[in-house]
């Protein structure tokens, strides 16, 4: 355990040192890779541990971005205060939406979240103080190193939260909800509160990522803040890495970001189509993600894939 801990700490330290040694493009690539990993990790709390497939987490990302931008542009606040406003806005909305939406299960929940992002961008593009369709321009800050370290800190924080969830009573309750919600309720898990807390946690972390991105890119509009491709990415990266594991989303996010970066240099639309293909293949051939692949492959070789494929066949 202690060697594992040292390994993790040295990995984080190595990542933190990248801005000192690496090039500017590497830092920029790092910012997006780290924040998408943090988003995947946040999705993991609700999607991986609780088993509620959300296709609308980008709403909280967008709300974080808008909260930060509105506080900084309209309220002339500092970035720290703005970020706090963004998180507060997203968590409040998660609490507000969570009430009705989390009563829904399975496909009903999935589709409700799918509609959520469309609805939210419609609402925002009608608000005058949010810049309507045109968007908001934030004060310029040139310092990619700061954004890089902030993104890294967010990812570490989010992962620590998930690591705590994985071994806490709260996390056990979430897993119980995933495996059998009615049984969990009967056993005394306060399922509505657990689900609401999971959603609010995920919303808070996603909002920080949104706020950081808003300040970094210095411009947001409804299309970029509520970008549905973000949802695509966070779901697929988590499922590819290993849903319901602590390190799975990070492994999935880093590996897929690297591959798609390589593909995107050739053809950007093909990189997105590739994401879709990955999720189909991952669910069919390795439903446990990369985290389970190593163990399964050692035990059964290529039969691991074939067994997974045969398990749910008609």
């Amino acid at each position: 355990m202690t060697t594992g801990r040292w390994l993790v700490i040295s990995c984080v330290a190595a990542l933190a040192a990248v801005p000192l040694l690496g090039s500017a493009t590497m830092v920029q690539y790092g910012i997006s890779a780290l924040s998408i990993a943090a988003l995947a990790q946040a999705w993991n709390i609700l999607g991986g541990y609780t088993g509620y497939a959300s296709f609308g987490n980008s709403v909280f990302y967008g709300l974080g971005a808008y909260g930060t931008a509105i506080a900084m542009v309209d309220g002339h606040q500092s970035f720290g205060v703005g970020l706090g406003c963004g998180v507060a806005l997203a968590v409040a909305c998660a609490w507000l939406f969570g009430g009705p939406i989390l009563r829904l299960r399975g496909p009903y929940f999935a589709i409700a979240t799918l509609g959520l992002s469309g609805a939210m961008s419609a609402v925002v593009s009608n608000l005058g103080f949010a810049g309507k369709n045109v968007g908001l321009i934030l004060p310029l800050y040139r310092g990619d190193e700061l954004f890089y370290e902030l993104s890294l800190a967010l990812l570490v924080l989010c992962t620590l939260a998930v690591a705590w969830i994985a071994r806490s009573r709260f996390g056990a309750g979430l897993v119980a909800i995933r495996e059998n919600e009615d049984a969990a309720l009967v056993m005394g898990v306060n399922t509505p509160r657990y689900k609401a807390l999971a959603l609010m946690l995920a919303a808070g972390f996603s909002a920080v990522a949104g706020g950081i991105h808003a300040y970094w890119s210095t411009f947001i509009d409804p299309a970029s803040a509520f970008d549905s491709t973000l949802n695509v990415k966070m779901v697929i990266m988590t499922v590819f890495g290993g849903p319901g594991t602590v390190l799975g989303p990070i492994v999935g996010a880093f590996s897929l970001s690297a591959i798609s970066e390589l593909l995107a240099s050739q053809l950007s639309t093909m990189a997105s189509a590739f994401y879709g293909l990955v999720i189909v293949l991952a669910v069919v051939f390795m439903p446990g993600g990369l985290m389970e692949l190593g163990r399964g492959f050692r035990r059964g070789g290529r039969h691991y894939f074939l067994d997974n494929m045969r398990r749910f066949r008609l």
Partner: protein, 286 residues
């Protein structure tokens, strides 16, 4: 009063088309127990099929519908046969994720092949309309509505009267009992999925005539189809059309009295409202 009647008419005409979209989704959901998140992408492909038949080959959009339907049927049949059949017995989350992945693949392949430009199918009669008791009835919209009704009626007849249709309904009601009576789900599943995507293709072509086709149109249409399928009941084709009309009227009212940008918010509000009020009515299989 006159304005209200005109809104109602516009809503009804568009709503019939929404109903047609939901028909395929409801069928697939009921029979295969899959909520097909790629349904909107199949609608989008139908739109492009009709667009290219019209713009490239000069075929009238209404005449091109059968072509789009046959094409989409084949595509849907193959997708079920070779992809979805692999997860036919998996947990719901897996089927959601896989259809989501198919949606992403189709959307971006379409973006690559057809570009992000808005396409409109503009036959010579696109702007034509006639007066009916002071109301303006747009011809293309009326044609789309009538086609939707015909297809829904046809599906109803097919499900109720033919041997295959009965087999599909039996599979939806009880898979085990259906198998005991010699119905092979390996034949019924791809067939039902193909019919679902063929209906999506027809809806997409008609949508291209009354609105626009873009690679990104799928997501909101998937959500709308889902709302309507629940509203109308999964096993009643004409009820689904009625559900579509309800959504169409709600949207048209929003357009006039609020702002067109709130359209998607209304669909979402209805969705959550309906689901929260009666969440466990349909197809809650253990």
């Amino acid at each position: 009063m006159h304005l209200a009647a005109q809104i109602l008419l516009n809503g009804i005409l568009l709503g019939g088309l929404y109903g047609l979209m939901a028909l395929g989704m409801g069928l697939v959901w009921g029979v295969l127990n899959i909520v097909n998140l790629a349904h909107g992408a199949f609608i989008m492909l139908g739109g492009y099929a009709v667009y290219y038949c019209y713009a490239g080959l000069g075929i009238d959009p209404f005449a091109a519908l059968p072509i789009a339907m046959v094409g989409l049927f084949c595509l849907g049949y193959l997708v079920q046969r070779f992809v979805l059949s692999l997860i036919a017995r998996a947990a719901l989350l897996s089927t959601l994720l896989v259809t989501f992945g198919i949606d992403v693949v189709l959307t971006y392949l379409a973006l690559f092949a057809f570009s992000a430009d808005f396409r409109t199918i503009n036959p010579s009669y696109a702007g034509d309309h006639f007066d009916l008791g002071g109301l303006t009835v747009p011809l293309a919209q009326l044609g789309a509505f009538a086609t939707a009704l015909v297809l829904a009626g046809g599906l109803r007849m097919f499900l109720a009267r033919t041997r295959t249709g009965r087999a599909i309904r039996a599979t939806a009601q009880n898979l085990t009992a259906a198998r005991l009576h010699g119905i092979n789900p390996r034949r019924i599943y791809p067939l039902s999925f193909g019919i679902g995507t063929a209906l999506a293709g027809a809806a997409g072509g008609l949508y291209g005539v009354v609105s626009q086709v873009t690679p990104y149109m799928g997501n909101t249409l998937t959500a709308k189809s889902f709302v309507i399928a629940i509203l109308g009941g999964l096993d009643r084709p004409l009820g689904v059309i009625a559900g579509g009309v309800a959504l169409g009227i709600a949207e048209a009212t929003t357009d006039i009295y609020l702002d067109p940008t709130y359209r998607n918010a209304i669909g979402f509000g209805m969705l959550v409202g309906i689901l929260v009020l009666r969440p466990t009515r349909l197809f809650e299989r253990a």
